[in-house]
């Protein structure tokens, strides 16, 4: 799997390169600024990108902007965005195109190497991996949308789905059987009027519907 990596901090960049290469990824470009990132993303060999929100030259949100721009040019191009802090606003912007294949995580999560690598794989497979901190703020919101029809239990399942977890992982986190989780997910899909489709795509659509409330 060939990745583009953008991270302004040399220490973290080296760490990420080592970590990703040790887990079977090939880094075809590792950059620290927005213009070089934009160039690297035009490389047709790139299959996905891991991008820091803050990059040189202005240290604001150029990484995020570059990721959104790249996805506008190559719809569905998988991007994992990392940041020192997370904002629901940015998660929405990343997902606004309506396609999945987006990850948005705090940099802290990289410390859980296996989970992080699993997350990158999920994003490349077209899924969404949203940071639990973003999920928590959405959970606290009072809903007045279709998502309102969900039971608290179903909302919990949906939150874990947005974090990018599989049914098995959700079952483990909620201390229930996988079958019970499957029942919840089916009920979520029905309540959100999602068309019958391959399961993965419906998961993404459900998460999108939830994030947009």
């Amino acid at each position: 799997m060939r990745l583009v990596l953008a991270e302004d901090h040399a220490l973290l960049r080296d760490g990420l390169i080592r970590l990703l290469e040790a887990n079977g990824f090939t880094i075809i470009a590792a950059v620290d600024n927005a213009p070089e990132l934009e160039l690297a993303l035009e490389d047709p060999r790139a299959e996905a990108a891991v991008v820091d929100v803050r990059l040189l030259p202005s240290f604001t949100d150029e990484g995020l902007q570059a990721a959104i721009a790249a996805r506008a040019k190559r719809p569905g191009f998988p991007v994992m965005v990392l940041s020192q802090y997370v904002e629901q606003l940015y998660a929405r912007e990343l997902l606004a195109s309506g396609q999945g294949a987006v990850g948005y995580l705090l940099k802290d999560r990289v410390a859980d190497v296996s989970e992080f690598v699993e997350g990158v794989h999920r994003v490349i497979a077209g899924g969404t991996v949203i940071d639990p901190e973003v999920i928590a703020t959405i959970m606290a919101r009072r809903h007045d949308q279709p998502v309102d029809r969900l039971t608290p239990r179903e909302r919990e399942v949906l939150g874990l789905m947005a974090e990018g977890r599989s049914n098995a992982a959700i079952a483990a986190a909620m201390f229930v059987s996988e079958k019970a989780v499957a029942k919840h997910t089916n009920s979520i899909f029905t309540k959100l009027d999602l068309p019958i489709d391959i399961d993965d795509n419906r998961r993404v659509l459900a998460v999108l519907a939830w994030l947009r409330v």
Binding site: F59, T60, Y85, L89, R92, D108, R141, R142
Partner: protein, 386 residues
């Protein structure tokens, strides 16, 4: 305030002039009374007279202020010093005597019974003697403007007094700002000391212990490393909240508009943000207004029991205006919370103001205004679905 000022017509101005001519007589009487009573204060009887004559003079002066303000189309405020409640007559007189406006009123009385009286009488006479109607038609406005200008000059604070007041305000707000930033630094120091710093010490210890255990008890060492990792996570979380308290990253990235939209998204109550800013205010103002809005929204979440809230941002006449409203139960008291007092202090450093309207049963509407300049519009990315 925003409605266009209506200037009085010729007849109305003449009516003002007539009123001024008639009021000149009580002004003369009150002037004499006040001067005589001031001398008689030594034998006490003057105090009683002054307690009547000064308020009466002020009442008449205020009528002239109102007329002058209408003729000139600018406010002529009656900015008398406030007498503290429950003050005894002597204290009351002392406050009056120390108020420069009292002395200005006296000087004005002299002007109004001489030059002022002549001008106003002239205005009335020009109309009454019908033959001079043409002169009245063209002359009334300049005459009344001159008269009003004189009133304004005598009845408002002079340049020096205004500067003195300004210095007073600046001294107070500067002291408050310094206090506030010192307190902020102390809070940040404490947060770092109790939070991230303590966690890093613990982290170092866990790693040290793990280092010692690797040879003898690899399983135990691994546990220590896992513990160290969760300590790192907690330390990072604490650093993040400290950074948010100093200067939220999203404010640096997106400016006030984006940062307020991000705040609104994180609220449990749906918040509609209406940003109508063509550019970005200076960074310190942006930050003060951001924290003010954040405090207002936090209060809505905590106390208002609202199911809807809104934030309007706009800029007009050199002022940034932020209106935060909710449809909750109202009855908010802005001076009750330390948070709101901090917000007001921070805004006052920029000559900003906060107005709270919160009747029982709502809605609560908080208006923040800060005079500032807007920088040239910067192209901010569209915020997608937000």
């Amino acid at each position: 305030m925003d409605e266009p000022t209506k200037f009085p017509g010729r007849l109305r101005m003449t009516a003002y002039a007539a009123a001024q001519v008639l009021l000149a007589i009580p002004v003369l009487v009150l002037f004499v009374l006040t001067v005589v009573a001031s001398v008689l204060v030594v034998v006490w009887i003057g105090i009683g007279v002054l307690l009547v004559s000064v308020p009466a003079s002020r009442w008449i002066a205020n009528r002239h202020r109102a007329m002058a303000s209408r003729v000139l189309g600018v406010p002529v405020p009656a900015a008398y010093r406030v007498v503290p409640e429950g003050a005894n007559p002597v204290q009351r007189l002392t406050v009056w005597a120390r108020d420069p406006l009292t002395w200005r009123d006296l000087a004005w009385a002299l002007m109004t019974i001489t030059v002022g009286f002549t001008l106003s009488l002239l205005a009335v006479v020009l109309l009454v003697v019908i033959a001079t109607g043409a002169l009245w038609w063209f002359g009334i406005e300049p005459i009344m403007r001159a008269r009003s200008r004189l009133d304004q000059m005598f009845l408002s604070y002079g340049h020096t007094e205004k500067l003195e007041q300004r210095v007073q305000v600046l001294t107070e707000t500067r002291a408050e700002t310094i206090d506030h930033s010192a307190a902020e630094l102390r809070r940040i120091e404490r947060d770092l000391h109790d939070g991230a710093q303590a966690r890093l010490v613990a982290l170092g210890m866990s790693l040290g212990v793990a280092d010692d255990m690797f040879g003898t008890d690899p399983e135990g060492a691994r546990k220590m490393v896992v513990e160290a990792r969760s300590t790192t996570r907690a330390a990072l979380g604490e650093l993040r909240s400290v950074v948010r308290g100093i200067h939220p990253p999203v404010l640096a990235d997106r400016g006030l508009t984006g940062a307020v939209s991000a705040l609104a998204l994180d609220m449990a109550v749906p918040v509609v943000v209406e940003p109508r800013l063509a550019g970005r205010p200076p960074a310190p103002v942006e930050s003060a207004v951001y924290f003010a809005i954040a405090e207002c929204l936090a209060n809505i979440g905590k106390h208002a029991a609202a199911d809807r809230a809104w934030v309007d941002l706009s800029y007009a006449d050199g002022r940034l205006v932020a209106v935060v409203g909710d449809n909750g139960k109202g009855g908010a008291n802005p001076s009750a919370g330390t948070g709101m007092r901090g917000v007001m202090r921070r805004l006052s450093a920029f000559d900003g103001t906060m107005m709270v309207s919160s009747p029982d049963r709502g809605p609560t509407i908080i208006t923040l205004e800060v005079p500032c300049a807007l920088s040239s519009p910067k192209t901010t990315p569209s915020s997608g679905t937000a």
